[in-house]
Symmetry: C2
Subunit: 363 residues, 2 copies
């Protein structure tokens, strides 16, 4: 009658990294159905849908771990919960068409609160032409949990995975980096002020862009479309949830390659740069490790460079190398240093560790 978790062993979850636990749990899975083209291990699973290919992805967000309702409005949270799943579909070079939504809420939430959350979800669905086709809303004893499943479609041969980059391919990133993390730092700062003095007014003026990037990220389906229009099929792709460094190494590792990034090529918005400098942080560090940018990181053949070089939304930031496991950054003063998947200062390190523990498995 004792609870099982006390009987079954003693390995703390923290001992496994983000990809250790998934390997442990899924190593014995063998796909049985011909409709299951590809399972665990990419941004989404790949299923046969007769004329087309279907991709399916699923994310679970936990209050206090993935979001903080002190400063995250419920409508934004709903929007973001959908957006990050559509971003996973975009990272497969596919078009999202359906989502299913599961919400668990404790009795401290009102109907209006759940409606607010839902309205943000529906707004994001509306914006990206996606249908909300099902779900489940249940009560929880404590906290809010949001689970979203997104379904997307692509043509056979045009689904892009993580493990198919080739040596010499150019590494590209959409948009700019580090803004979402800069926005989080401002929200955390104002939360501390608020906790000390609940009457204090938040000082959020001049931070619009970075706050929006944190609270309301957009899936880069426009970039997927742009590349398609230019006739460019990426050789590998992933979306940036953990940070550029981590995701670059992910593409390289999965493709059995190395990678080399150029500090001077990292796209950083002016507001991001200014805010981070004011806070005493190196913008490069945050661009590499901040996470939650939900930009697309992808590789293209060198032969495709001319087709993308004038795209304002796409930046070439490095290239894949033949040396598997060699992850390098060329600094602004032309030094070659090892690319690391964690930040260099304590705050970033702490946060990254939280994230590593939080996102034990992704697929």
């Amino acid at each position: 009658m004792d609870s099982m978790f006390e009987e079954t062993g003693r390995t703390p979850l923290e001992r496994y990294g983000e990809f250790g636990l998934i390997d442990l749990l899924t190593k014995n899975i063998r796909l049985k159905n011909s409709s299951s083209l590809c399972g665990v291990g990419d941004d989404a699973a790949i299923l046969d849908a007769a004329g087309r290919v279907q991709v399916v992805t699923k994310d679970l967000l936990a209050e206090g771990v993935h979001f903080d309702l002190t400063y995250c409005p419920l409508k934004h949270l709903g929007y973001k919960a959908i957006a990050v799943n559509l971003s996973d579909i975009a990272a497969m070079n596919a078009k999202p068409e359906q989502v299913l939504v599961g919400i668990a809420v404790s009795s401290r939430f009102t109907v209006e609160a759940v409606e607010e959350l839902y309205s943000g979800m529906l707004l994001c669905c509306e914006r990206y032409g996606v249908d909300l086709v099902g779900g489940d809303t249940v009560s929880s004893q404590s906290g809010m949990f949001i689970s979203v499943t997104a379904l997307g479609y692509g043509q056979k041969g045009e689904i892009v995975r993580r493990n198919t980059a080739k040596s010499g391919d150019l590494i590209c990133v959409s948009g700019d980096l580090g803004a979402a993390y800069a926005g989080l730092l401002i929200l955390e700062r104002e939360k501390q002020v608020f906790l000390k003095d609940p009457k204090a007014q938040p000082d959020l003026d001049g931070y619009d862009y970075i706050l929006e990037r944190q609270l309301k990220p957009e899936p880069r389906l426009d970039v997927v479309r742009l590349l398609h229009e230019r006739g460019v099929l990426p050789t590998s792709m992933i979306d940036i949830s953990d940070g550029l460094a981590s995701e670059s190494m992910h593409l390289a590792t999965d493709s059995a390659l190395g990678c080399c990034l150029y500090e001077e090529k990292l796209p950083i918005d002016t507001q991001t740069y200014q805010t981070l400098t004011d806070l005493g942080l190196l913008p490069t560090t945050v661009a590499l490790n901040g996470g939650e940018d939900y930009e697309l990181l992808f590789t293209v053949r060198q032969a495709d460079y001319d087709k993308i070089k004038d795209l304002k939304e796409v930046h070439v930031i490095g290239y894949m190398t033949a040396e598997a496991g060699d992850y390098a950054l060329i600094t602004n003063d032309q030094k070659k240093i090892a690319l690391k998947a964690q930040g260099w200062d304590a705050y970033l390190k702490h946060r990254n560790e939280n994230r590593k523990n939080a996102d034990l498995e992704e697929a």
Copy 2:
């Protein structure tokens, strides 16, 4: 900076029933993609998959609400989490082929505990030929949450919905009823003994069948297959998660009909009957309202009666009537009483209310 749920209104979630909140949240949804054949409102969403039709369902289970780890072994819990989703696919007359799994666990769980949970999930997948193709394991601040998405397939014209029964159709149920609830009562009884005296040994002898029905339900894919082999296409179908009375009324309401059930036809296993009688409960009440049976409730045309009458696993228990909103039970002494979706004694009533609040929305 104040949290949104304090700002946005005051309607407690309890004010909405299981289907009130889903109506509220989804009433403005209009499907936009041609691949979205049918959204919220059945056991699963229905998508176009070129030659076939795809059905997708999603369930979220919360610790303390949907399961109690004091007596639910993690392996059984994993099995059940998959099984109840496969049951939703079965209820669409479809064949499940893939699942995606999301798990949120607090730090009180060990790696071995998560592995144990996963092993139960994989066992159920294995048993029913389903592929686990993706998922997400994250940390939670408190408690365990399990989110499962299941994908299934069927032939066009053979997907069975809830709203297509016709007056005069026979109401059929698979297997037997009330056993899962009887098993729960025994587990609850032993939990109370354990809480008073942690050294007491649980007295579970002679309850194997009802405990198994509670802890490890099986999706009735065998019944789907049997009906197919006999050339019987149900005119409507649902799986029994909330209880026979509630689900019968659900089929009737969605089809704008009434229904009439016969008490004497309700299939109740001997062990269930004996246990409930020993506990001072009316077996009929529990068969009607216990819930979690995960049997299939479906209607067939009268002309199909000869094709199913010798099926041991299928029981004809009533028929659909033309009087919309008229839900009746003919008792063993030939009285016609109103069928209610809640139990008659306080304990059942309390539990049903818990369930109503817990399962605010299903699709």
